[in-house]
Subunit: 217 residues, 2 copies
C-alpha cells in the first residue's frame, strides 16, 4: 500500500501513542511490532529511531525502546514554546508579508468562517491549519516555519480535541480576525501579542480539558 515499511510503522506507532493505545513507559518490543505490522525487525528499528528523534520514545542501550508520552508539565512547556514561536511568526509576517500572501491568508480565514457556519469542527481544524500555515510562510524564515510546524504537529492530536470544546471555534475565529488586522496594519508587536494569546488560550483550554478527563501525573 505505502512506499516504505519503516514509515508505516512509524506513523502507526505514532498514532497509537497519540490515541493512548500505547501508554507512557510501555515497552516498544521490536519483535512484537514486527509481527503486528507484518514486517521484519529492520524497518521497525528504523521507525523506533525516528520516534526517539521526535521525542515520542526513549531508548536505553541494550534495554530497548519505551513510549515517552509527554507529561502534563511537558505539555504546558510545549505550549509555552509554541506560543513564543507562533508569536514570532506573526511578528515577522507583519513586517514581511506580501499582498499576495495577505490575500491567501484572508482566503484561508474565509474558509474558517465557512466551516463555522457549517458547524463542521473537522473542516475548521483543517482550515485553521491552513490559516496558520499562511503565516508561517509569510514570516520569511523557513527554518522558523519548519520548527513551528513541527511543534504544531506534535501538539496536534491534543489540539484536535480542544476545538471541540464548547464555544472554542467561534472564539478562535475572532482571534484570527485580530491577527489578520494587526498583520495587515504592519503592527508587529500586536501581531506577536495576539498570536501568543491565541496559542496560550488553547493551552489553557487543554488544561481545563485534562482536568475534566482524568488526573494528570
Amino acid at each position: 500500500m505505502s512506499s516504505r515499511a519503516a514509515t508505516r510503522v512509524f506513523q502507526g506507532v505514532e498514532e497509537q501513542i497519540a490515541t493512548g493505545q500505547l501508554k507512557d513507559g510501555e515497552k516498544l518490543d521490536e519483535a512484537s511490532l514486527a509481527e503486528r505490522f507484518h514486517v521484519s525487525r529492520t524497518p521497525v528499528r528504523e521507525a523506533l529511531l525516528q520516534l526517539v528523534g521526535s521525542g515520542l520514545a526513549t531508548q536505553i542501550p541494550k534495554r530497548g525502546c519505551f513510549v515517552k508520552a509527554p507529561s502534563f508539565r511537558e505539555m504546558i512547556e510545549m505550549f509555552e514554546v509554541m506560543s513564543e514561536l507562533e508569536g514570532m511568526c506573526a511578528r515577522l509576517a507583519a513586517r514581511r508579508i506580501s499582498d499576495e500572501q495577505l490575500a491567501t491568508l484572508k482566503a484561508a480565514n474565509k474558509g474558517c468562517e465557512e466551516a463555522i457556519q457549517a458547524n463542521d469542527s473537522d473542516l475548521y481544524y483543517h482550515k485553521n491549519v491552513e490559516f496558520h500555515e499562511c503565516i508561517y510562510t509569510a514570516c520569511g524564515n523557513s527554518f522558523l516555519a519548519s520548527e513551528t510546524r513541527s511543534l504544531r504537529r506534535r501538539l496536534q492530536s491534543f489540539r484536535r480535541l480542544q476545538l471541540r470544546v464548547r464555544g472554542r471555534m467561534p472564539q478562535s475565529f475572532n482571534e484570527h480576525d485580530e491577527i489578520i488586522e494587526s498583520i495587515e496594519a504592519g503592527d508587529a508587536d500586536k501581531a506577536d501579542l495576539v498570536s501568543r494569546q491565541h496559542v496560550m488560550i488553547q493551552g489553557e483550554r487543554f488544561n481545563d480539558l485534562l482536568a475534566h478527563m482524568e488526573q494528570p501525573q
Copy 2:
C-alpha cells in the same frame, strides 16, 4: 572503544560535515561509509537516519542520502530563531531563577572572566556554554531548554569560529554582565532584549566572517 557503531558513524559524519570535509550536496554512500568506519551497512543506515533527523542530511527515496550543509540564508534564519529562544530563556529566568541558580550563573560568568584574563578562547568557549546552560536551566521550562540547547549545538561549530574574531571575547563578556544584572533585577523585558542582541551580534559577526572568507551561495 565506543559503545555503538551507529553512534560512532553518526558523530564521525557529523564532525566531517562541520569541518567541511564533507561538503554540501555530497553523497553519503552507504557502502563507502561502511568501509570507512569498518562496519556493515546496518549501523550506517541508522546513522544516516539520525543525520536526516537532525537536519544535516537529506534523503531522497531510492536515491540515497546527501549532505545538507545549511546555506548562508538558513544560517541567518537559525540565528534569528536562536535569538528568540535565548531571549525567551532569559525572560523566563528573570522571573523564575532561584538564589542558588543565580549564584551558579555568577560563578559561570566568573569562569568566563578568568578565561579572558588568560586569553584562552577555547576555555572561554566552554565557560560561555556553561553560562548559557545556567540560564536554560533557570528558565524552568525543560522543553525550551532542550530545544535551545539543540539549536545552540547546531550553530556550535560556527560559533567556535566566531569567538576568535578580534575583540569579540571581551564584548561578549560585557553583554553577559548586562544579562546577569537584568535577570537579578527580575527585569524580564530587559533580559529578553539583551539576550536577543547577544545572539544577533554573534549572527552579524558570523555574517562578517563569512563575507571575509568566501562567497556565500
